[in-house]
Subunit: 296 residues, 4 copies
C-alpha cells in the first residue's frame, strides 16, 4: 500500500482554510520557497487575495497539491484531485490531524524532501456514492475519502433503513436509527468512531457500515469486504433526509431515494515521510498511554 | 413512588394516534363501555369524526386520560395533563411499549379495575426545559416526560457544547458532538439508550446527560442528581440547531441561545395494575433471555 | 451530601503503599509536622520500619486517617474505618486519583486546614455484600466503597447469572457474561466505567449493576435505587467463580452460592477542601477538553 | 471465498457433545444412513459407546467431518482437521449457531446433497497463536478459528499490555485491561462482540484486536490487515495470566511470556448449502428486525 515515488514536481496547487490565523503567513512562505526553487504555484481562487499573481488553479494539471488547514481541508482537496492521482501533502495549521502530516514549521524541509523524491505514497481507498431516485434516475457520483452519511434532518424522527449488500443485493438487516455511516478505513477514525465503530487500519480492504443511534441494541457496526455494493433504502420516508460526503458536501434526499455506495475507482495519494505511521498518529490523537482511570 | 389510589372517575379524556388501524374500533368499544357505566367521554378534536357527540376535551377537567396508540401517544397526552396530576392510562395499539400498559383487548377489564380503585399510580418525574436567548430573554417552559434533546440540524457539522451543572453552574465539560440528550429516568430507555446511556429504574432521583456521537472517546453519559440545574451552552453557533421535546415538539435555536433544564414540578401519573413492573416490561422489550450469541 | 465539619483532631492514623518511591519521605515529613503540632501519629504495622515509635494503629480510635498512595490505598483505608465514621484524607503519591485529593507537597498545608476545621466532609455511600451458600449459610459482610464484582475465574467459560432486585426479589434478567459489577456511584468511574457503565455523580442515591462482556447485545448497565437488595444467582456453576471487593479482597465462590448486595450502613467520610469537586477531577482524569478526533 | 466442490466422500468422521439430549438418536440415524449408502463412519472415542463398531477416528484420514452439538463442538472439530483441509459439516443439536448450518432433522437430506456434490465450501481463515517465553523458548502453535484470548486469571488485577504489529513490530499502544481478544473475522461474532468489537464479514482479510474492559476510554477495538504479526507483551506480570483458544483450550502464562499471533496457514472448510449466508444467520441470531425500543 505504501510505495516510494520518484520526483518530477514542477506545478504545485494550493488550497487553504482561512479560519486558521497562520494561513496568510504560511502562504507567503510557500510563495518564497516556490520562487527560490522554480516551482509554479497555483492557489485556489478564494486564496488569491492572500497570494496574488499565481497561475490558474486547475485540479487536473498539478504535480502536487498542498492543503493548508486541518483534516477537513485535506478531505476537500483530496476529492478534487482523486481522479488525477495527484499526490496530496497536508499541512496542519491547527491540531495534529489523522490525514495532515506536517506542521507549518516543517513545510519547507518537507517540500525539499518531496523534490528529492524522499517520500512515500500512502494510497487510500475512496468510496463512490450515488443517489438513485424512485423514478430510476441516478445522480452524479460523489467521491468520499472518509464517509457517505445518511442522516435524518431537522425535526425528523428516526428513519427506518434497509441495508443490502453484494452484487445480488442480499439483505443485511433493517432497523430504525438516526442514520447510517458508510465509511472507508480512512473514515473509521472520523464520524464512524464517534458512533461506536471500530478503528480500521487504512490498508484493510473493506467498507464499514456504522449505524447512528439505532433504536435496537442488537444492531452493531459491520465491516464488509471492499468489493461489495452497499444499498441503503429508506423505508420510512421522512420529510427531511440528508446525504453528506466527508461532512462537507451533500444533498437532501426525496422519498423513495436510495443510497448506493461502493469502492471508488480513484485512490487518494497521501504524501508521507519516513517515521510517519498510522498507529503513531492514532496514539497521539487518542492520547493512548495517557493517565488511566484506575480502579484502585 | 408507587401508591394505591381511590376511585372517583367520572370524566374521561381520550386521545389517539390515527396511524393505528385499531383506533376506530377501540374508540367505539370505549364509547359503548362509557355509556354502560355512565362515564362522560371527551375525545380530542382530531378524533371527533370517529366518535362524534362527546363532551369538549379540556385537559384540566378530566379524572382520567386514556391514550390510544403507542408510547408516543402517551408522551403527548402526559405532557397535556401533567400540570393537573391527571392519571394516564396507556392503551397500546401496536407493539408493547415501555409506558403504555395494556392491549386493546384488556381495555374494558382495565377500566373496570380503575373504577373500582384497583390500580396503582406510578408517578414519573418530568423535566422542565427552557431556551434562554443571548439577549436574556427566556422562552416558555417545555415539559418532557422522556427527554429534551439538542441536536445539530440538516447539513450542520458537529456542535461544540459546554455543560454546566448546579445552582452555581459548575463546569462539567465541553466537547463536540452531534448533540446531547437531557433525560429523565423514564427517558433512559428511549433516545438515551440508543446513544449509549444506561438504563435507569424510574424511581432513581436523577437526570441523565447523554452525548450523541461525541468527537472524543473520553466523554461518556453522566447521571446527575435530580435537583440540579443543567445548562448547555453552544460554543460553535451553527446555522441549524434544534431542540426537541420527547421527540415530538421543539424549536430551532438561534446563535447564543442556551438550554436550561431541571426537574419539572409536575409528575406524570401512570395507571398501573398489579403484576406490571418496569423490569418485566424491560425484559420483554429488549428480549432479555432470548437466544444468545454464544462463544463456542 | 457535603457538610462543613469542626476540628478536634488529635490522633491521626496513617497507612501507605510502599510501591511509591515518595512514601518514606512523605512519612518523615508527616512525622515532623505531627511533632510540631502535638498530634499523635499511629502508622499501620507494615510501615513501622519507615517511621518507628508511633502509637498503635487501631482503626476505631482515630480522629483522622491519612492514606499515602493512590486510590487503591484510600479504598483500603476507607473500608478499615468506615464503621467508625472517621474522616479520610487521601494523599496522592502517583497520578491524580478520583478519591485522593492532594499531592504530597500540599500535605502540611492541608493538615493545617484540617486542624482549623477548614474542610468539608464528602460522605460517600458504601455497599454491603454477602455470600449466601446453597446450605443457607451466610458469610460475613464485606464493605465496598467502589464495587463488589462477581467474575468467572481462570479457564472458566462465561457464567450464567440471574439478577433479582428489591425486598421481594423481582427478576431483572438472566444472561451469560464474564461477570457482573455491583457498584456505588463512587465506583461508577472505576471498573464499571471500563465495562461500559455510565458515570454517576457521587450523591445520586443508587446502585449500579454493570454486566462484564455479556453474551447478548440487549443487556445493558442498569442503575437501581439505593434502597434495593440485589441478588445475583449463578445458574451455571463454574468450577471457578470469584467475588472481589474494590479489586482488593474477596473469595472464591462454591456452586450454589449467591451474592447479596445492598447499601452499606456506613458511609465513607472523605476530607475535601474548597475548590475540589467531582467534575473538576473527572475532567482532569478523563482528559475532557483534550484534542478531539475531528471528522474533517 | 465460497467455491463449489465435487463429491467423492467415503470416510466420514463424527464428533459430538454429549450434553445434548438428541446426540444418541442423531448418532443412530447417522449410523443407519451410512450403512445404507456404504459410507464408513468413524466416531471419536468418547462417543464409541453410543455407536459401537465404527472405524478408528483419525483426523487426517477423513473425507468429511460431521460435528454434532453447537458452535463449540464445531470449533473443536475444526481445529482437529484444519491441517488436512477436511470439509466440516456442523449439525446443530441446540439453538441456531453461527457456524453450524443444519438441524438434526435435515441431516440425511444434507448428507445426500454432500454425496451429490451439491454444496459449497465456505473457507474460513484461522489464527496461529504461540507463546514465547522470556527465555526465548517458543511454544507449540495453537490453531484458532474464533480467537486467542489473553485474560487475567482469578484474583489478579488488570494487566498492562503492549500491542505491537507488523513484521517490524511497530507499537500500536499500551494500556491496562482485563485482557485482549485476537480474533478472526469468524470470531468477530463471538467473544469480541461481547467486548464491543465490530461484526466483520468472514471474507474480509483481517485480524481483530479487541480490548476487554480497558482502563482508559480512549482505547478501542482495532481491525488489522490479515498479513500482520501481532505481538502482545504483558508489562505488569500478574501471578495469573491465561491464554485461551476458541474458549476451549489454553495455558497459564508465566511472567515475561509474550503472545504472538498471525494468520494460520490452514483454513477451515465449512460445508454450506444454497440459501445459507452469513447475514441470514446474523439476522436470526441477533434478532435483527425484532421489536425495537421505540423513542415515542
Amino acid at each position: 500500500m505504501i510505495e516510494p515515488v520518484a520526483g518530477g514536481v514542477r506545478r504545485v496547487g494550493v488550497i487553504g482554510q482561512s479560519r486558521y490565523g497562520d494561513l496568510a503567513a504560511t502562504l507567503q512562505a510557500l510563495g518564497r520557497f516556490a520562487a527560490e526553487r522554480g516551482l509554479e504555484l497555483c492557489v485556489e481562487p478564494r486564496l488569491e487575495s492572500m497570494l496574488p499573481g499565481t497561475c490558474e488553479f486547475r485540479p487536473g494539471e498539478m504535480d502536487l497539491l498542498i492543503t493548508l488547514g486541518g483534516d477537513g481541508t485535506l478531505l476537500r482537496g483530496a476529492r478534487m484531485v482523486a481522479p488525477y492521482h495527484t499526490p496530496v501533502l497536508g499541512v496542519n495549521l491547527g491540531y495534529l490531524g489523522f490525514l495532515t502530516s506536517i506542521p507549518p514549521a516543517e513545510l519547507e524541509v518537507s517540500l525539499d524532501r518531496v523534490l528529492r523524491g524522499q517520500y512515500w505514497i500512502d494510497a487510500r481507498m475512496t468510496l463512490e456514492a450515488r443517489v438513485e431516485g424512485a423514478d430510476g434516475q441516478v445522480g452524479a457520483p460523489y467521491i468520499a475519502l472518509n464517509d457517505a452519511v445518511l442522516h435524518k434532518g431537522g425535526f425528523a424522527r428516526a428513519i427506518r433503513l434497509a441495508v443490502r449488500v453484494g452484487p445480488d443485493g442480499e439483505e443485511v438487516g433493517a432497523y430504525s436509527a438516526d442514520g447510517i455511516i458508510i465509511a472507508t478505513p480512512t473514515g473509521s477514525t472520523a464520524y464512524s468512531l464517534s458512533a461506536g465503530g471500530a478503528i480500521v487500519e487504512p490498508s484493510v480492504p473493506c467498507i464499514l457500515a456504522t449505524p447512528i443511534s439505532p433504536h435496537t441494541l442488537a444492531v452493531r457496526p459491520v465491516v464488509f469486504p471492499a468489493d461489495v455494493v452497499i444499498t441503503v433504502d429508506v423505508l420510512s420516508p421522512s420529510e427531511e433526509l440528508i446525504l453528506t460526503i466527508d461532512g462537507q458536501e451533500g444533498e437532501a434526499l426525496r422519498p423513495g431515494d436510495r443510497l448506493v455506495a461502493r469502492r471508488g475507482e480513484a485512490t487518494v495519494q497521501l504524501v508521507r515521510f519516513p517515521g510517519q505511521s498510522f498507529f503513531n498518529t492514532l496514539r497521539r490523537k487518542l492520547s493512548w498511554g495517557a493517565v488511566e482511570q484506575g480502579r484502585g
